[in-house]
């Protein structure tokens, strides 16, 4: 084995260890979800596994929370992408007078921590009778995440080399066609990453969900909150519900990575 090969293997092992260490707290959380409460502390790796926590946590109630979370997250993500990409496109390739100012305005709308405006938002929801509705959640989340989509997609759009677009226009390609035939494949990775991020932000959003929902529109973080502290040992149960909650984004992340790889093999831009 050449020295180069050995170096490569060592590097790969190093990366494995590093990533595993980074991931360790979550791994430990998943492990803990299978422990009986009395064996959670002190920390240990050998224990008697049990499904009791999952049995307690996965009661029929959880379906409503999951349904709400899924609906709200998916619809918000779609809405943000559908509304955000055209805006981003217009800013980068369009003929706006001062695109940078518009950018900056979008960015400035995300500056305020959600917690700072909870009471005003609660008041607005209350007086428009939109408390405890999925619609209001989707509205709030979209408003919060569209700027993020615009900002991220802008950087990916900026990377598309002008020469290709110009060549296509010279060849008689229409704007829409060049968008779908050229821009989308090149920025696919970026757009997928962006969609994934928005989905995760919405899926995990906790504070607005707790304050603006009651029974009908409650999402999964609200259910999880009831396990966050108890007058009794709760860490194994919390780990269990958290593992369940983390599964959809994790699976999505896995799928998104497949497309990342595909983007790589599709070849980078010809210089």
């Amino acid at each position: 084995m050449s020295a180069k090969r050995i170096r490569h293997v060592l590097l790969v092992i190093f990366i494995y260890i590093l990533c595993l260490a980074y991931f360790f707290p979550i791994l430990y959380m998943i492990l803990t979800s299978f422990k009986p409460e009395t064996q959670v502390i002190p920390p240990r790796f050998i224990f008697t596994p049990t499904l009791e926590n999952y049995r307690q946590v996965l009661n029929p109630d959880i379906l409503n929370y999951l349904k709400n979370s899924a609906l709200v997250s998916v619809i918000t993500t779609i809405a943000c992408i559908v509304v955000g990409i055209p805006a981003s496109y217009a800013i980068v390739f369009g003929k706006l007078k001062k695109p940078d100012n518009l950018f900056f305005w979008f960015l400035s709308t995300t500056l305020l921590p959600p917690v700072s405006v909870v009471i005003p938002v609660y008041l607005i929801a209350r007086y428009t009778h939109l408390l405890d509705t999925r619609f209001f959640l989707v509205l709030m989340y979209s408003g919060a995440n569209i700027p993020i989509v615009i900002w991220m997609v802008r950087s990916f759009l900026k990377d598309v080399p002008r020469e290709i677009l110009e060549a296509a226009t010279i060849d008689g390609c229409s704007r829409v066609r060049s968008f779908f035939r050229i821009i989308v494949p090149l920025t696919q990775i970026g757009i997928t990453s962006t969609a994934l991020l928005v989905f995760i932000f919405v899926w995990n959003e906790f504070f607005f969900a707790i304050n603006l929902t009651y029974v009908h529109a409650a999402t999964i973080p609200v259910y999880m909150a009831s396990y966050m502290t108890q007058e009794g040992l709760f860490w194994a149960k919390l780990s269990a519900i958290s593992t369940v909650t983390v599964l959809p984004p994790l699976v999505l992340g896995w799928i998104a990575h497949k497309s990342l790889v595909r983007g790589l093999t599709l070849g980078a831009v010809k210089g």
């Binding site: 009986p36 409460e37 009395t38 502390i41 002190p42 609906l71 709200v72 619809i75 779609i78 809405a79 559908v82 509304v83 055209p86 009471i119 609660y122 008041l123 209350r126 408390l131 405890d132 509705t133 999925r134 619609f135 959640l137 989707v138 509205l139 979209s142 704007r175 829409v176 707790i210 304050n211 009651y214 029974v215 009908h216 409650a218 609200v222 909150a225 009831s226 396990y227 966050m228 502290t229 108890q230 007058e231 009794g232 040992l233 709760f234």
Partner: protein, 450 residues
């Protein structure tokens, strides 16, 4: 053409928005009651047995379960900002009086009048423990029915004390507890003399520490509402708390609340623990390595006779509720003698909601399952709710000051305590900050007449 395509996309997005709205339930005759509650074991049991109530009355109940802090915030939002989406709320002895005063919850006496004589006798309001009843009243009107009640007591390891040849007196003083803790403290073996809450929060470390403030002879305000953080007694209390934790207590106290204390005790890492009486059940439950080894004593004192706190989680009806009669039915069901029997028979007598009715403490089955019942009963009955301190004070409440601003003030002071305990602040700084904060509250709340 392209514009149309884009418009179509937008319409799809809008349709998505709208469909997400969905489920507006059609107004049916009987809507389920919406109940907000904490995620304590007793409440979880209540949630599990709620279908029995639905069987009996045909009224369904939707539970919204949250941790205590969130519950209080959410329910306060709901009542104060007028949304009125909860029918029944779980509130404590702290909130009840001024919520009643603000007309956020309904007085219950009129509803009791509407009951049939037979039902009223079966419910037996007189059976509810007097101190708890009075803590849940305002202006002599009962506003909430107690679901469970507690005081505080000292737990200790009988086996450890026997081995060390120590007898723990039934009415110990804090000095005695300090000496005992020091004797059995053994940090090299991961074993601590005593566990005390240090987690910031007006209901966390402040609950425990406030009882110490009271019994050391200090107070938050004098009769003129002048803050009293600069008195020698207050200083003594603070110094003592730090001393006992440093010399014989658990490490990292600012991360130890009720649950962590329970965990330390049940994994056999501590010899003593001063905390809520409701912990007794958990300490003796299956899976606890110290079940059966626990001895009980009254809350330690210095200058007062009884220093245990008084707390109850109770059910109340929101004034904005549209189903008050149905809600009242649930209230009386969940706090009735029948309910206690139900839980006792189906779950176990060690797990019934304690501390609400005198009859519970005359029940032989309960007394057999709960060796700590005597001390709990006496602690609740003697909790100095109306006059908690040595010198007279203009406020009520043992482990809190019964003013609405205490949520904020108590939290700030608890943070100063944590800062002092962890060495981030000197005692002088911490006390000065507390004094300043307490003064601001008294002034802005209109208590202190300038």
């Amino acid at each position: 053409m392209r514009k149309l395509a884009f418009l179509a996309l937008c319409l799809v997005a809008v349709a998505g928005f709208v469909s997400a709205g969905g489920s507006k339930e059609s107004a049916t005759a009987k809507q389920p009651l919406v109940l907000a509650t904490v995620n304590n074991p007793d409440m979880i049991i209540m949630q599990k047995y709620a279908p029995k109530f639905t069987e009996k009355t045909g009224i369904a109940v939707n539970f919204v379960v949250m941790p205590e802090n969130q519950l209080r915030q959410k329910v306060t939002e709901d009542v104060a900002l007028g949304a009125g989406k909860f029918d029944i709320v779980t509130i404590g002895t702290y909130d009840t009086p001024f919520w009643g005063k603000n007309k956020w919850i309904d007085p219950l006496d009129p509803l009791f009048q509407k009951m049939s004589a037979a039902d009223r006798d079966a419910y037996d309001v007189a059976d509810l423990m007097p101190p708890i009843k009075s803590a849940l009243s305002f202006d002599n009107q009962l506003y909430a029915l107690p679901f469970y009640g507690e005081s505080s007591m000292l737990y200790y390891r009988k086996d450890v004390m026997e081995k060390a040849g120590i007898t723990v007196p039934e009415h110990p003083t804090w000095q005695q507890i300090y000496d005992i803790a020091k004797k059995v403290n053994d940090p090299s073996k991961d074993f601590y003399g005593i566990v005390l809450r240090g987690l910031p929060g007006w209901g966390e470390n402040m609950a425990v520490f406030d009882t110490m403030i009271n019994t050391f002879g200090a107070r938050w305000y004098n009769m003129k509402w002048e803050p009293q953080f600069n008195t020698p007694q207050m200083r003594q209390a603070w110094e003592f708390y730090k001393k006992i934790l440093t010399d014989a207590g658990e490490p990292g106290p600012s991360t130890v609340g009720f649950t962590e204390g329970l965990a330390l005790m049940t994994t056999g890492k501590a010899a003593m623990w001063y905390d809520a009486t409701v912990a007794a059940g958990a300490l003796n439950a299956a899976g606890s390595s110290v079940a059966g080894k626990i001895g009980y004593a009254f809350a330690p004192t210095v200058k007062t006779t009884y220093s245990g706190w008084l707390w109850s989680w109770a059910l109340a009806i929101e004034s904005a509720s549209k189903q008050k009669e149905a809600a009242f039915k649930f209230l009386t069901w969940a706090t009735s003698k029948d309910y206690i029997n139900l839980i006792g028979q189906n779950v176990g007598w060690g797990q019934i909601p304690p501390g609400t009715r005198v009859s519970t403490y005359k029940n032989p089955q309960y007394l057999a399952a709960a060796p700590f019942a005597g001390i709990t009963l006496q602690s609740i009955e003697n909790a100095p709710y109306d006059q908690p301190t040595v010198d007279p004070v203009p406020y009520k409440g043992v482990q809190y000051v019964a003013i609405p601003e205490f949520q904020g003030l108590g939290t700030k002071v608890s943070q100063q305590l944590a800062a002092y305990l962890t060495g981030q602040k000197s005692l002088d700084d911490a006390l000065a900050t507390c004094q300043q904060d307490a003064l601001q509250v008294a002034q802005q709340g209109g208590y202190l007449k300038q």
